[in-house]
Symmetry: C2
Subunit: 364 residues, 2 copies
């Protein structure tokens, strides 16, 4: 193992590049624009791996993130988060050099933006296709026409880009057929809405795509682009859904072992809530915060018996371990933890280390 | 409200200073050394507020944090986390200018450190008084004597400081009497151990003190110092335990409202898992991730009806709201969220804003 002295987020380049390539090829085969979500990795250097397979348009989750990637040569960016007009200054700054798309879910924020906007932006209407997080009700034609009309009155600064949804309830799925029914209902809903605007806006875009649907589904009829993000790293939640195999997970937190308690069947690592995040997963009758792996040469492998993070405090992680696997772990060893939710683990760590020792930065 | 355009961690100076002063006075009255834990705020500027009430010795949770505060003039630091001997280089660096205490829970890591150590450090033996996280079993005199003997063999670089415990199971308490029974059992256990070493080490220190016990208890007979941390900010978990009143909470996350869904009785804010952390609290029959407050002039107040964060994704927070309180929130408003766990919210945000507009930095 490399010279690890404190919790370190390891990124396995080959696995990550394979995940990116697989999704890019799928999009190409299906004739879809691939606009990956960069909120998972938040790193301009990982972004280059997407460029290597031909990606030119991206999705981000905040104005701040749009700014970061615009500084690193990305010039076609959708902010897939409801418009917050308080951020008009930075929106104006980014939009001078970037083809920037914003998401709108009401007229209030758009009206405020219109008064402040100096550069041209594209507007997606976010549609709620069942997740119940954000988005307009696709049957609320009053609101949708209200937004479209506002855009039409300001074509000097606004253009109507189309409809966008995130069927994030697919994260609760635990089988391919669960994902399938969510995906089909979501597609039906957004395509039905899109059809009503085809005559007036023949060029408008239908943008869809969470990681489970993009990993498992092959039919996106009526959509023009997909925006998965998590798939670049995947994680244990995606394994539980069936979106990936454990071998596809591209990041692990390397943690020094600081105590071993054989009678409790527990190991304590330096690796806590500030490193792993407190996201958890209910599997096999218990809640856990990550699964342990052992490092081998240039990757990692699961132990023979179940080893998982059973609780977390700020800096401590408590691991359950059994039998031979418990016996072979010593104070001073470095073991790995696969993420329950890779986006949050990455955000908590703010930096990656590759197996060749390189450090990749993240947005700060 | 100040000019808030994105999620911003507000720190209320007066409330925080009052919390610090109250605890410092309690320690003074009880004749205890006050060695506050700085992992909660992680800011040299907040640290100055402790200096203002006479604090000269501190606790931290990592070698990295010890290094940060040593760079800001703190020269008496205990790292209350089990020794990780891989960090010997930085330990040596800090110990050249700081009176540094380390915590040991086994002989393995201490043996490795002894081979690498160049400057003198103090050694606390961490004792597990019931929390079952880390620490030696106080009845395991074989192990304890093993550690003490190792120290005695290396008095050129090591000195035995005493026994330290963290009765963190007090966080599960939901009444003063719960805290009392945990505190008494914990004190009994560590004082009993300490008494066995009084003849040989008359100067050794007994170091105790989680926030619930330090807030609610008045008897610390046999202890020499207390190390609470969370009390500087407090949070909703401490309110649920009974350690503080809601008015004592010194931080809140200010979040722009980006969508309102009256029929769902929900409000969506820019403020998600990467800002609030996913720590949660089970109260009044439901799990939540924070309670909403409205900003008034120079502080905040609770709404009339319950408003809480019911779910989180990476950047979105979904708030439940009812009746008049729901009706008065508009897209574009800025509302506050009180933390379930202030240490994790602070760590996620990495920066504070005071009501006078000042920015306080945190360790990065």
């Amino acid at each position: 193992m490399m010279n690890i002295s404190q919790p370190t987020l390891l990124l396995h380049e080959q696995t990550c590049r394979a995940n990116i390539k697989r999704m890019a090829e799928k999009a190409r085969k299906l004739g879809l624009v691939f606009r990956p979500h960069f909120k998972t990795h938040q790193s301009y250097q990982v972004g280059e791996w997407f460029r290597d397979v031909g990606v030119t348009s991206i999705t981000v989750s905040s104005v701040k993130m749009a700014h970061y990637f615009s500084q690193h040569g990305w010039n076609d960016i959708t902010i897939a988060f409801p418009l917050n007009a308080h951020e008009h200054a930075r929106i104006n700054e980014i939009a001078t050099s970037v083809s920037l798309n914003l998401c709108v879910v009401n007229t209030e924020s758009l009206k405020v933006l219109i008064r402040k906007l100096k550069s041209r932006v594209g507007i997606f209407i976010e549609v709620d296709t069942g997740y119940r997080r954000t988005g307009v009700d696709p049957t609320d034609t009053g609101l949708i026409n209200g937004i479209v009309n506002l855009i039409r009155q300001h074509t000097n600064i606004l253009s109507f880009k189309g409809f966008l949804c995130h069927a994030g309830h697919s994260y609760k799925a635990r089988s391919q057929s669960d994902v399938e029914s969510i995906h089909h209902a979501s597609m039906r809903s957004i395509v039905h809405l899109s059809n009503q605007f085809k005559a007036a806006y023949p060029q408008h875009v239908v943008s869809v795509g969470d990681t489970p649907s993009c990993s498992l589904m092959d039919a996106f009829t009526g959509a023009h682009e997909i925006r998965p993000g998590n798939f670049a790293f995947y994680d244990l939640t995606q394994c539980a859904i069936g979106s990936c195999y454990q071998e596809d997970i591209a990041i692990a937190l390397a943690c020094p072992v600081v105590a071993v308690y054989p009678s409790r069947e527990e190991i304590v690592i330096h690796g806590g809530a500030v490193h792993l995040s407190k996201d958890n997963l209910f599997e096999e009758g218990r809640v856990h915060f990550g699964k342990v792996v052992f490092f081998t040469g240039d990757k990692w492998e699961l132990p023979a018996s179940p080893m998982y993070v059973k609780s977390l405090s700020q800096e401590h992680g408590i691991i359950h371990a059994e039998g031979e696997d418990l016996n072979k772990v010593q104070v001073g060893d470095v073991i790995g933890v696969l993420p329950v939710h890779s986006c949050l683990m990455a955000d908590a760590m703010k930096e990656y280390q590759l197996f060749n020792g390189s450090i990749f930065e993240m947005m700060h």
